[in-house]
């Protein structure tokens, strides 16, 4: 008696649409596209800066356009998602052992959030927001 082997059909392109946690995983991974695109904007800005004041001012004006603001809002959402997902795995990525005991994960994660707050406030202060 022979049976047909059971082959689960899994789509290689849309497998991640079937479960919310897969979608969250993909959202985390896709954050790299927005971070990369934002980096491209920064590089364009640096190139404009090197071309002189008129080019820089035109770039600044471009940044105020609704499409630019929409892009930056989307990029910010994904960047924040990257930050939280990155911090939340730090106890697994770099566990800290103190003698016989492990430092609780909550402390490692909390320290990252505290550091993030300090870094962000310092940058905002330096820029003059």
């Amino acid at each position: 008696m022979s049976r047909k082997p059971y082959i689960r059909s899994v789509s290689t392109t849309s497998w991640w649409l079937v479960q919310p946690r897969y979608i969250r995983y993909m959202a985390r991974e896709v954050s790299c596209v927005l971070i990369g695109a934002y980096s491209a904007v920064v590089i364009i800005g640096l190139l404009r800066l090197s071309e002189g004041a008129p080019a820089w001012n035109a770039f600044l004006e471009c940044l105020q356009k609704p499409t630019s603001v929409a892009f930056h809002l989307l990029a910010l959402a994904f960047a924040l998602y990257h930050t939280t997902t990155w911090f939340n795995v730090t106890p697994k990525a770099m566990p800290i052992q103190l003698g016989e005991t492990q430092l609780p994960g909550g402390i490692i994660i909390g320290a990252h959030y505290a550091g993030w707050l300090v870094v962000s406030v310092v940058i905002l202060f330096l820029v003059g927001v």
Binding site: C32, I35, I43, L49, S50, H82, H112, W116, I123
Partner: protein
């Protein structure tokens, strides 16, 4: 044992991911949103002011890291994510991703040294 370039890419991914986690949200807000939402005067991003930061050697180094590290992080993650989207041509994907990151790095260095 066969030599692998994995440690280099992986350390750039980890360093870049950490850097992006700490810096990128506030940078996006400062350069892309704060002025548009009236939370910061546009003078904060005035030509002379930004130029002074980028012409300073320490400022140059910081700006370089702000671009370089997240770019390589993004390139590596994009390569891995391409596989998740069903793209199996890893060599081509790797060349494209790391190639783009290399172009971005050279463009950044060029811009930083021509200001």
């Amino acid at each position: 044992m066969a030599r692998s370039h994995k440690p280099i890419v992986w350390s750039l991914f980890a360093a870049g991911g950490t850097f992006a986690a700490f810096i990128t949200p506030v940078m996006i807000f400062v350069t892309g949103l704060a002025v548009a939402f009236g939370l910061m005067p546009i003078e904060a991003l005035a030509y002379e002011r930004v130029l002074a930061v980028v012409q300073n050697p320490i400022g140059k180094a910081i700006v370089f890291l702000i671009v370089f590290l997240p770019v390589w992080h993004a390139a590596h993650r994009l390569r891995i994510t391409a596989h998740d989207f069903g793209i199996r041509a890893d060599t081509l994907v790797a060349i494209l991703c790391y190639g783009l990151a290399a172009v971005a790095t050279f463009a950044t260095v060029y811009a930083l040294f021509s200001v």
